[in-house]
Symmetry: C2
Subunit: 414 residues, 2 copies
């Protein structure tokens, strides 16, 4: 089947999927979870093929670790599906409603988008997560994972399609693009009229390709050049704990902090200590002039450092003389993913929350909470760094649109 | 100034506009309204230049009528601004909020987009409407009207900028592109990083140009191939009144009906009468085989007729044998703008409302209500025929996005 035909199959069943009752969707999600567990041996076998191929292609240990499906990970996937079943159904939500002076009753009702396509390069568990979120939100889905996980993804989708079919949900609701080459990605990007939303989960190259090629609607799940700003009034121990967490707990992800901005009032007494602790955890520190005076081991930070999403154990550090300067720096270099302030000053907190232009602003907590799971969305389809339709972590709601339903008793317009 | 420089000026003041309090924005809107009225003579003079040029260029009477600013129309523009001031401020709305198990309090807050640009070809009053909606929603705006109204638009923007300046709102919040040529439209479409939303209000050529050229985010305000479906159970008098209103009250607009779909149960006794009435109002009827048997004056409807947005006194009529066939026809040929059902059968109403894929579905009322003003939005920025971000009539809310603000007391991620 061509990518076009795959999308046509999804589009053909989308209206039926959009009308399914919550109880049926939840039963299908539980059947999907049960099937993953009961067919763990089949999944492990398919996964072994991917792992073997990856090894023969000299993949790094990190990649092989991410790729490998253990029994524990299969069980986690199943639990993820059950968590999505536990979420409230967004479809049918009466978002708002009112009565007009002429007696018309206007309802704004949440409805599915139709067909959601996701291009991803990550671990095989994304396949199950995305399938679950799309089904729960009443959408058919088209999945296009990475070639390195192709056998695993085929097996997972095979099991999941069987499971939904067993509950009477058409298996065509769940499509996997069988070729993970560049042309299949372009095919999805240009399946205009068949795909209602494309979510590209990947790096800068994928986003550039989307911007150049896509004719279908898409949402950019972009970079995270995230900052922690430590205000003059910050609790020093809290500031240290948040900075260490944001930078080092998992440096390779988009909501990890890349820059630390410190108010001069607290810099002298607090900054050297936290930089010692960061260095002790293997973090390379790059600082401006004032940072290097306080902590001479810091390398010199260049303009390039303020702009860079390291995704690594590196941090760029700047001392500022005001909240305005901090907000200005964050708005200049941030990528609208996650920005944090540590402060005890309510005015500073309110101004930072209001004036920083970002999908999520964190007051006295780590940027690492910019995540659908941490927000309570069950699983996440991605983090939007754009402003239209969705912004910040995306859950089930972001896989829907709304429709106005207007009830009258014969009204016409004068 | 180049289009790029104009957009830069708007972007430079956008953060300040986004932070304005409602009371200041409303005072500025009232000052704008007052200024339009007190400077009516100045506006009329500028408008006379446009009208004279239009006449010398052999514009039609319809176009000249739309272009002409009378004292009454200037007063209506002013009233439109006051109506926008009366709307609730969308900025700062707490859309939703909850507490996570770890104590984090997550708020989803409504915030402005930043810079909104609108390309339009309509009457000069759109200039004032769009300026008002953008200011109220906390956005800077860049307006690009049609060349035929350029002197009028310059005068209106001149008056409005003076009025907001008098209240302490920076006049750069309101920008008019001084050249209404094709290159200025392309310039706006490609002002990436400066424009947060572009709304093209115009015909198919403009939409095609947007799809081909735009690198900024946009919302399609598209066609309206709208249907009225008259169910077997419909009240015949109500059905007649709604069909006549939807087709003939103002046939040139996007929410006018273009097709009539009739259940066979009611066709024999009801259809000939309504077609007589339509014909008496000058409507040309094109029908399928069954329609032409019942009403032989009908021309033969072709596949092309089902697809055509006439925007004229023409209607395509089809008889169907089931609700399913009606929904299928509407979903095949409709353009997701406005679709109506006339029925006394609650099951048919619920199924039509649920299964028709459209921005607005009207039960027992006219498609002509698909309009921001009729929905109570004060004025409208357009009607979205897409699914992402906004769908159906767009008001102030659709000129905003949201931001998550997460309040903690030292939480870090495990």
């Amino acid at each position: 089947m061509t990518v076009q035909e795959i999308c046509q199959r999804a589009a053909a069943v989308a209206p039926e999927i959009g009308q399914l009752r919550s109880e049926l969707k939840d039963a299908a999600l539980h059947a999907m979870a049960d099937a993953l567990e009961s067919r763990a041996a089949y999944l492990a076998e398919a996964n072994a093929e991917d792992v073997e191929r990856a090894r023969s292609e000299q993949a790094t240990n990190t990649i092989i670790d991410r790729l490998t499906l253990t029994e524990g990970r299969i069980s986690s996937m199943a639990q993820g599906l059950r968590a999505v079943a536990d979420q409230p159904d967004p479809v049918g939500e009466l978002v708002t409603g009112w009565r007009q002076p002429n007696g018309l009753v206007i309802e704004r009702v949440r409805v599915p988008l139709g067909v959601v396509a996701v291009i991803y390069e990550a671990r095989p568990n994304v396949t199950a997560d995305v399938a679950a979120l799309c089904l729960k939100s009443g959408n058919a889905c088209v999945l296009r994972g990475s070639s390195i996980a192709l056998s695993s993804n085929r097996a997972i989708v095979d099991v999941l399609r069987g499971a939904i079919q067993s509950k009477g949900v058409p298996e065509d609701a769940l499509q996997l693009v069988p070729d993970a080459d560049r042309s299949s990605a372009i095919g999805l990007m240009q399946a205009k009229g068949l795909i209602d939303l494309l979510v590209p989960r990947g790096g800068a190259a994928l986003i550039r390709s989307i911007e150049e090629n896509a004719t279908v609607p898409y949402i950019i799940d972009g970079d995270g050049n995230c900052h922690v700003y430590v205000d003059g009034s910050a609790d020093p121990a809290m500031a240290t704990s948040i900075v260490l967490n944001a930078k080092t707990q998992r440096p390779s992800v988009c909501n990890a902090a890349e820059s630390l901005v410190v108010h001069e009032e607290i810099a002298d007494k607090w900054l050297p200590g936290v930089l010692d602790e960061l260095a002790a955890k293997g973090v390379e520190v790059r600082g401006d002039e004032r940072v290097r005076q306080l902590w001479p081991d810091a390398l010199e930070a260049t303009e390039e450092d303020w702009r860079t999403e390291y995704l690594d154990l590196k941090i760029a550090v700047k001392v500022v003389d005001s909240l305005d300067a901090a907000i200005g720096h964050v708005n200049t270099y941030g990528t609208s993913n996650a920005e944090a302030i540590v402060t005890q000053d309510i005015s500073a907190a309110r101004r930072f929350a209001s004036e920083v232009d970002s999908g999520s602003v964190f007051v006295n907590c780590s940027t690492r909470f910019s995540d659908g799971g941490e927000f309570g969305f069950g699983a996440e389809i991605g983090i939007s760094t754009q402003k239209l339709h969705a912004r910040g972590p995306m859950g089930l709601r972001e896989l829907t649109t709304t429709k106005f339903v207007v009830w009258g008793d014969g009204q016409t317009r004068e």
